[in-house]
Amino acid sequence: MNLTINGKQHQINSANDTPLLWVLREELGMLGTKFGCGKGLCGACTVHANGQAVRSCQLPVSAASSMQITTIESLGTPDALHPVQKVWCELNVPQCGYCQPGQIMSALALLNQNKNPSDSDIDMAMQGNICRCGTYPRIRAAIKQAGKEMHSVSARGGKR
């Protein structure tokens, strides 16, 4: 079976019903997407499937094979951060950091639809992402700030 991850094709040997999360982590060695619960309850495994935020622990790889899958690895690197990642760092959002890739993927899906989300927009979009360290207030602030920065970049006609 073929999978398209971050624009690249991969030949997969995992069984059809293997959750995408475990294909990413165990077959492809892509460890940025995290295992938190395996039940779609915590959001740590969030990736994008055709631009929508999905819980990869609940997506069988057979279904994923027909989609464009985007993971945290596609956003940026410590030396070349995505604007959302940059704001996350500026506001010192992460503590333990385990939930943050999932948080960022959910946040980015929201911001791609709406660069000026209200508090209840943010609640709705982010309610499936748990943070035990309690960084929620900073996540909210970072989403709003990232939205502003992304908006001003796109208003100037810039990329991302």
Binding site: E26, K39, I72, C96, G97, P101, R132
Partner: protein, 669 residues
Amino acid sequence: MSKELRGYTEMSRRSFLSVMAMTAGSLVIGIQLQPLAESEARAAGSDPFVPNAWIKIHPSGIYEFVLDKTEMGQGVMTSLATLVCEELDLDLDQLTIVFAGADDRYKTPGFGMQITGGSTSVKTSFIPLREAAASTRFLLVSAAAKRLQVRPEEVQVDRGMLFAKQAPSQKLSFADVCGDASLMPLPKKIVLKDPTRFRLIGKSQKRVDAASKVCGTAMFGIDAKPKDAWCAYVIRSPFLGGTVKTFDPTEAKKQPGVKAVVQIPRGVAVVAERWWLAKNAADHVRVEWDKGQLGDKNHAQIYQVYQDALQNESGKIFTDRGNLKNVSAQVKTWVDAEITIPFAPHATMEPQNGFADVKTDGADLIGPTQGPGLARDIVARNLGFAREQVRVTQTFIGGGFGRRLPQDYLEDAAAISAAVKQPVQMVYTREDDMRHDYFRPGNVHRLRAGLDAQGSLISWQHKMVGPSIMTQLMPLWGPSNMPAWLPKFISSPLANIAADYTAWRNDDGTSTEGAADMEYAVPNMQMEYVIKDVGIPVGFWRSVGHSFTGFVVETFIDMCAHAAAQDPIQFRLDLLQASPRRAAVLKEVAKLANWSTRAEQGRFLGVAQVYSFSSYAAHIAEVEVKDRQIKVKKIFVACDCGLVVNPDQVRAQIESAIIYGCRQRYTTS
């Protein structure tokens, strides 16, 4: 950008600094710098200059800081790097930070063990780390002075460059002079930077680990599996403390990818090429369990055991002040309460996991541990190795809160690896993680207070029943505190005896902290604790005893204030006249929350103050109650935590603690 190495680096055995913890109670560490005569100490060729256990200056230009604490979100990586950079006048992104791993040179003073916990990292590192960095600076400056042919006092240090005041264009880097620095005479006295000249300490910094965490490249324990190692899922008892009676692996062994099915102390391990395959195969194993001490007691039954002890048993009297019997004649109003505290899970986002590669002559462990030295000692004992034969590499931790202090996850990985003779990573499911925890103890409290005719609080009686963390842990941890040369057949029984003695005397202060030493100046007071262990594993949970004694004491003092028809803050202040720092945070938070005008404004506020682990805090919660649902609108905080290294990090921790605490619910009757 701070370049974090992956933490596999072991401390160089050629480091010759010994860090000595002084006698019990003292937090002073003497840094003994051995004579630098040995040629291996010299930074020759590509060998680094290693002036102490924390700092390595590589001639290649890498400035390495060995972090001997675990980073689990609490920010010590940044704070401790800040201390080093302050004295060396480096920027944070000029340091390459590696985790220390198991190494007795890093035993935390006061604990006698290498652990991260108890809010001790910044406090116990503040002087020693700065001294290490300052003495390193001294040697670098001496070397530069000699090269530049000036006096050391004329050498300036700026972001890794050394130059003479009078000739600033002639610059040498730390890397340039580190070879010579290793030959310089040591300072007779280490001089630390004067606080008035702090560049970094006291200012908010960006976390050095934020970038890797937002990119998903930061390596947690669960990410640390070497590519070809096997994966294990352990089938665990549905009864806490239960053990395997029999198991049938036949069907499971036929499942795809399965390599082995083996029994370990805590259950049956299914081992496969991939964890997903191991977990699925586990459904095919038939296991029969022996129930442990707890059996299948339910919540009500467990708490009935506590209630019975509350009524019928005596424990240790931790505090006995004045004369409760005599004073009762003066009591006009009695206030009574029984408070039930639930067991609380840690619920770290990263499920428990550990990696072990056990060979015939030793073992390598990798995991998200808060106690690398403990892991080494316990696994070495379990496997019959000497401590030196076990090496522990630590990773970032996806949530600690005390859960990673017991080393069970590394014990399990080691047991599995030893059984299958292969490197193995063991990972919990979320369900197992929530159930197989070392819970914050649940307990019951009975309180009775007496107010006199003037409404003054004149008597306070508090009895508590519940399990004891120390009696459960001492058999495991005790041997680590004893000399390494003591053989297992002596150290283990000794630790067990100590645990039994503690239990017999009901003497566990981690259960009573905050209650036994309550500072409300009630003239007649008694606090009693009965240890009752029903077989639920318990452990350290964020703020330990204070997590429930804070609630109990503050709830009850509030009830007393209301019974006395007095303002809850003023009532407290009247009893805290000998505790100025507690009084100060109370007054400050009252101002912040506009406490005095709350009635006119129609706002409902509640207050609490706690001193724990060296910090004073007072919080006011503004709440709304609608249809019996409590909504917390706002929390106001005043915190006195002494000298602050990183203000934003302290703020982040307070925000974190508030949300962590809000998730617990308590019942009062």
